[in-house]
Amino acid sequence: MIDRTIFRRATLAGAAALAMFGLASPAFAQKTKLTVYTALENDQLDPFKKAFEADNPTIEIAWVRDSTGVVAAKLMAEKDNPRADIIWGLAASNVGLMASMGMLEPYTPAGATALNPMFLSGKTPQTWVGMDAYLSLVCFNTAEGKKNNKPVPTSWADLIKPEYKDSIVMPNPASSGTGYLTVAAWLQIMGEEAGWKYMDALHQNIAQYIHSGSAPCVQAAKGERLIGIGLDTRGASEKTKGAPLELVIPKEGLGWELEVTAIVKGTKNLEAAKKLADWAASKKANELYAKTYPIVAYPGVAITPPNYPPNLEKVMVKNDVEWMAKNRDRILAEWTKRYDGKSAPKAK
């Protein structure tokens, strides 16, 4: 009879487990639940949500947050039956592609005219509206630099000096948007031919092409590598946490990318989505962005993130976003042929 008891018990346990993840309790509130897809940083979500909901008490934000690549892939895979109402905080290059595929609901937010025109899609009505810009710069570990007697670089040209052999990491442009905007910036600053020549030389100093835009500066911060080329915000936040890091702005200029807001075509909550789009373009929202990003869409907002060098706008390269999108496949194919194919383990 033992077996029977055990089976009865197992059945009971099973039924209990099934009941546990059964139907969720029905929602009782009248609030509109707005599904927002985002690649914003984790610690930004809560303050952003609270601030928006305080001004719009009838709307509740439900975040779906992941890294840029995952969120973009998810949005594109859901194209035929969209689940997101609105995108708030995703790279312009990804969102631009979605605009060209007809996945977005064009809408010009109430305060759009007040924004820096560089942050607008340029269409009427706007397909997307920029929030802030992030940069690809150089993170230098001063503790390791001192230990190994390596000077702080000041320019892109410095990075190809032999003293930095095997001590630089950068994102792989084939897997990271930050990586691509870095490569595209070099090709635009130096011209194609000189740009590839520069990367040939740089390749000798690269220890690893990483599949992430934020990891290089984190690796530099933790002393895994001397130098990381990558996302600025991450470098700044690591420094705040105590990393011996210096954020270097190479004097030739920097590649950059926008984070944007866009309404997804087919949303069942269009009115609420428009309210969020309006709010995201407001001065109040931009003041929130300015706590993390050194450059935001609303002119004249006081910039407050710590650890940034001043006057960043001046070093941002003239970035032709359309050129970047059009030439992406070609540049990545060339890059992969030159550097990725022969990147087998380094000879010991």
């Binding site: 940083e41 975040w63 890294s67 995952v70 039956n81 689940r83 084939a174 895994e224 194919g341 087998a344």
Partner: protein, 562 residues
């Protein structure tokens, strides 16, 4: 009362019909949770980015890239080396657990499972603390770097070891003592007994273990992504295409290439299966190892060594979760366990994970064991059983992100009647069961193959319906394997990332995904802390299993002893 005349076709009994209907139903379920979602993505390989059919054009362009060949070669190299290291290690370990007198056997068994309790993030972080540029044992690498093939192989060995040990323990656990007694009485040497009795008995398990390890390494992108450096493998190529460039067409092409090892594994399995004979006949006597000093000492030392290596990696992660800022501020703190500070969902995602894991364990075990039983015990019906067998092998060869995207394309398609599952806990459970189907199925099949068909024959002649034999005899005999499958599903559901990362909704975010997000945000210590909580949960569940095994379920197996 049909008269059986050899060579004449005999009518199907009610049992046969029922079993066949069951196999058809199983095939339909597997098709729904595996076949169709996979096809939904792989079909993109024949379309351009705008969805127009282009035939094999993507394949032509992919196969003309020189980088492909290098990636394929790298994948094969890593998989071969890892398999050659893991299978012998796991065999010795499983042998020690089942065939020698080991002090605190249960403890060693538990430790061997730790790697599957851990999200793949954990060995990655621990290896960097151990062997990275600032690592404690960097000197051991002799100037080499952990970022590259060495790192991948070390992490893969850690990650694959429990999978192989689980299969091999099942294979070695059921042996007929009479064979050994006979051999001894006949004066056969130990060596000869090992090669003529032990090894052949475990052959199916050995081949399964090798196939599982090989394909696990081929399809895993997590480890290669974190620690692989510039060492490109096929799985990171899929990642680049799908996540880096949102190019589903090319991602599907690489995904298809990755199915090749699965097809191979399937063929090998079919060949071996034909020769497998039941070991545990109705008259069998289970083998109880007798003490033998030299052998026991050797295996105890061996198990201690392996356990120490596993515990070092875990210990490193625990320590890493308690420090302030690696490597510049090593003072200790508990702040990293206050997850609400690092992720808006805080501890909620942890409870989501537990619920999902319970669901997967209950639903998955039921499906896998019943399914394996139907497929093993149905007579004839070869074609359909072949289909089921193939579908069961498929997920092993599919990188999680391919399966996850396939789930979006299939379940989110407008007009799919199953669309209600999308963005619920249900789809996460379904996806996880599908993702880990192969090992569960193999474990069940290995256990079932070792049971003499005589049990069914006797039941049939006593006119006992076959399902009753299943519930009253087969399932209780296989209870250890059934529990192993349930635990396997639970722990994997706690750690899985690559597939569910595409499927969670705002209120069903999982701890494993949260850990990846936290790590990406640069808070390594908090990510390590969440990993540690996941490991401890799975370890607690496993401990409960071992205790139950010892005091409760052991009684079910009493009949096996003399």
């Amino acid at each position: 009362m049909s008269l059986v005349v050899p060579g004449l076709k005999v009518g199907l009994s009610r049992d046969d019909l029922m079993m066949r209907a069951g196999v058809v139903l199983l095939a339909a379920i597997l098709l729904m949770m595996l076949g169709l979602p996979l096809w939904a993505l792989l079909a993109k390989g024949f379309e351009d980015r705008d969805g127009k059919f282009v035939g094999l054009a993507n394949y032509v362009s992919y196969f003309s890239t020189p980088a492909l060949f290098q990636s394929a070669l790298n994948s094969l190299q890593v998989a071969t080396i890892t398999t050659l290291i893991v299978v012998p290690l796991a065999f010795l370990y499983a042998y020690a657990l089942t065939r020698t007198v080991l002090p605190m056997r249960w403890l060693f068994q538990g430790i061997s499972l730790i790697p599957i309790f851990a999200p793949s993030l954990l060995p990655g972080l621990a290896l960097i603390y151990l062997f990275g540029t600032q690592g404690f044992f960097k000197a051991l690498l002799g100037g080499g770097s952990i970022y590259g093939i060495d790192g991948i192989v070390i992490a893969q060995v850690f990650y694959c070891f429990p999978h192989a040990t689980l299969i091999l323990t099942t294979a070695l656990a059921t042996a007929d003592a009479r064979l050994y007694e006979a051999a001894e009485v006949l004066g056969t040497s130990k060596r000869r007994i090992f090669f003529t009795v032990t090894l052949p008995g475990a052959k199916y398990g050995l081949i399964s273990a090798a196939l599982v390890v090989f394909t696990l390494v081929i399809t895993d992108f997590g480890i290669a992504k974190v620690i692989g450096g510039n060492f490109n493998v096929l799985a990171t190529d899929v990642y680049k295409k799908v996540i880096g460039q949102q190019d589903f067409s090319m991602g599907a092409v690489v995904g298809m290439v990755l199915l090749a090892p699965a097809a191979l594994a399937f063929l090998v399995d079919r060949l071996v299966q034909r020769k497998q004979v039941a070991l545990l006949t109705a008259r069998a006597v289970p083998l109880v190892p007798r003490p033998k000093l030299g052998r026991d000492l050797f295996f105890t030392a061996f198990c201690l060594l392996v356990s120490a290596a596993i515990l070092t990696i875990l210990g490193m992660a625990i320590w890493g979760s308690l420090i302030k800022y690696w490597p510049y501020n090593l003072s200790l703190t508990l702040d990293n366990y206050d997850f609400a500070k690092f992720d808006a969902n805080g501890w909620d995602s942890y409870w989501n994970s537990v619920r999902m894991a319970l669901g997967a364990a209950v639903f998955g075990t039921l499906l896998m064991f019943t399914g394996a039983w139907l497929n093993e015990k149905t007579r004839g019906f070869g074609m359909m059983r072949g289909v089921v067998q193939f579908l069961a092998f498929l997920p092993m060869a599919v990188p999680g992100l391919v399966l996850g995207l396939g789930y979006i394309f299939f379940f989110n398609a407008p007009g799919n009647p199953l669309g209600f599952l999308y963005a619920t806990m249900g789809i996460l459970v379904l996806n996880t069961v599908a993702h880990f189907y192969t090992v569960g199925h193999l474990t069940a099949a290995t256990a079932l193959k070792q049971i003499d068909p005589e049990f069914e024959a006797v039941s049939a002649s006593l006119k006992v319906p076959i399902w009753r034999t299943f519930v009253r005899v087969t399932a209780p005999i296989c209870l250890p394997a059934i529990l192993d499958i349930a635990i396997y599903l639970f722990v994997n559901a706690m750690t899985t990332v690559s597939s569910v990362i595409f499927l969670y909704a705002p209120d069903t975010k999982l701890a494993s995904v949260a850990a990846v997000n936290i790590e990406e945000a640069g808070t390594t210590a908090a990510a390590a802390a969440l990993c540690v909580v996941i490991v401890l949960t799975s370890a607690a569940v496993k401990a409960a299993h071992l205790i139950a095994d010892r005091f409760l379920f052991a009684r079910l197996q009493v009949w096996r002893r003399r």
